[in-house]
């Protein structure tokens, strides 16, 4: 047995070509098994976890980005709404001012008309006064003159007084 083992023991077992076919066969079997383990189990499992992790982070970041965009547009909408409200308010104030001005103008013109009417009326009254002036002047002057003459001790009949007054009125 010892001699047999000795003959079988080559100086370098690596160069014992009688074992090569066996080694090739089992190496190929092993490689195929490892390949199937790797592709069926290892890559789906570990690759899946790594991809999950990466996609979780990326999804979070992407969601954050999207939310940020939404926030920006929400802010813009908010500011827009405020600006709209302000311009609406300005418009209302402007409209109110126009309304007031219109009212003012109307009231002013009405007042003007009233004043004009009143002054016209007074003009008429003054004219009437002036129209009635001659008559009343004649009458008053007549009475007054007669009284004066009487006070002064003159005698003056109505006729003479009237004549004198008429003469003075003309003069």
């Amino acid at each position: 047995m010892a001699t047999e083992a000795a003959t079988k023991t080559v100086a370098m077992p690596q160069l014992d070509f009688s074992t090569y076919v066996n080694q090739f066969f089992w190496l190929l079997v092993t490689l195929v098994v490892i390949y199937f383990v790797v592709t069926r189990l290892v890559i789906p499992r570990i690759g899946g976890v790594l991809a999950d992790r990466k996609s979780t982070i990326e999804r979070d970041i992407a969601a954050a980005e999207e939310l940020k965009q939404k926030a920006i547009s929400a802010e813009a909408a908010y500011n827009q709404a405020l600006a709209d409200a302000r311009s609406e308010a300005a418009r209302i104030v402007e409209a109110a001012r126009a309304e007031i001005k219109k009212d003012l103008d109307e009231a002013t013109s009405r007042a003007d008309a009233e004043i004009m009417a009143k002054s016209a009326e007074s003009e008429k009254r003054i004219a009437a006064i002036r129209d009635s002036a001659l008559e009343s002047v004649t009458q008053v002057a007549h009475e007054t003159a007669a009284e004066i003459v009487a006070v002064m001790g003159g005698s003056a009949d109505a006729e003479a007084v009237s004549a004198a007054v008429a003469a003075r009125l003309k003069g």
Binding site: N22, Y35, D52
Partner: protein, 252 residues
């Protein structure tokens, strides 16, 4: 009583049937077969069972599996490029096999699968053939531009082409011998050192110095061999990636 040291550093590499008999047929289950199977079991343990939690925040075993996986993934991406990621499963298969064969061989009395040129040679030939075929399938005749160094002056290009062609065919040889040689040498040297440990029995006076020294040397060798096992697995795989890159982007 053995009165002298007898050195059989290569005996450990003998491929022998596991279940008796002496003939090694093509189907015989040998010690090598056993250790390849143990390698598969380790792959299952680390990369399948270890990662079974599939947690978003990994535990230790899952994290280890992820580090292992990402290491190869990043290697393929960084060395070969994004377009080589479809070949990642093949590269991972090769790395898994070589890595576990190398590291398992560190266990004493185990069998160093990758110390056999039959194994590393066939692996290298598989890589060589698939890369060459892939190069022609992907690039057609343009794959030959790999041997036509356009950056060189025109008159040296033919000479360079011959050199490039030779170096291309030498690739599988260096690829396989580098790995097998490294693994074989380490184990053989350890075995030689281990033989000296018997001196304490033969000659206690000499042995009292030599035996501890031999043990210390083997211990130190272990530190080195762990490094060699990992680095050689890495080199074998990264060279595969480099060859793959040449196949995908042959023009210099």
């Amino acid at each position: 009583m053995a009165s002298s040291l007898t050195f059989h550093p290569m005996e450990q590499f003998t491929v022998s049937p596991l279940f008796g008999g002496h003939e090694v047929h093509w189907y015989t289950i040998t010690n090598q077969t056993l250790w390849m199977a143990i390698g598969i079991c380790c792959i299952l343990l680390l990369l399948v069972i270890g990662a079974r939690a599939r947690a978003l925040v990994p535990g230790r075993s899952q994290s280890a599996a992820e580090v292992f996986y990402s290491f190869v993934h990043n290697m393929v991406r960084d060395v070969t490029g994004e377009d080589a990621l479809p070949y990642f499963p093949y590269v991972l298969t090769i790395f898994c096999f070589v890595f576990f064969a190398n590291t398992l061989s560190l266990i004493p009395t185990s069998f160093a699968v990758t110390s056999h040129v039959a194994v590393t040679g066939l692996l290298a030939i598989i890589v060589f053939l698939s890369v060459t075929i892939l190069g022609f399938v992907k690039n057609g005749a343009h794959f030959l531009e790999l041997f036509w160094v356009k950056s060189a002056p025109w008159y040296v290009r033919p000479a360079l082409a011959v050199i490039e062609l030779i170096s291309y065919f030498v690739r599988p040889v260096s690829h396989s011998i580098r790995l097998a040689g490294n693994m074989m040498a380490g184990h053989a040297v350890m075995e030689v050192f281990a033989t000296f440990a018997a001196l304490i029995v033969i000659s206690p006076l000499v042995g009292v110095f030599v035996t501890p020294l031999s043990l210390a040397a083997i211990t130190a060798m272990y530190a080195l061999e762990v490094l060699v096992a990992v680095v050689q697995a890495y080199i074998f795989t990264i060279l595969t990636c480099v060859y793959l890159k040449d196949a995908l982007h042959p023009s210099h």
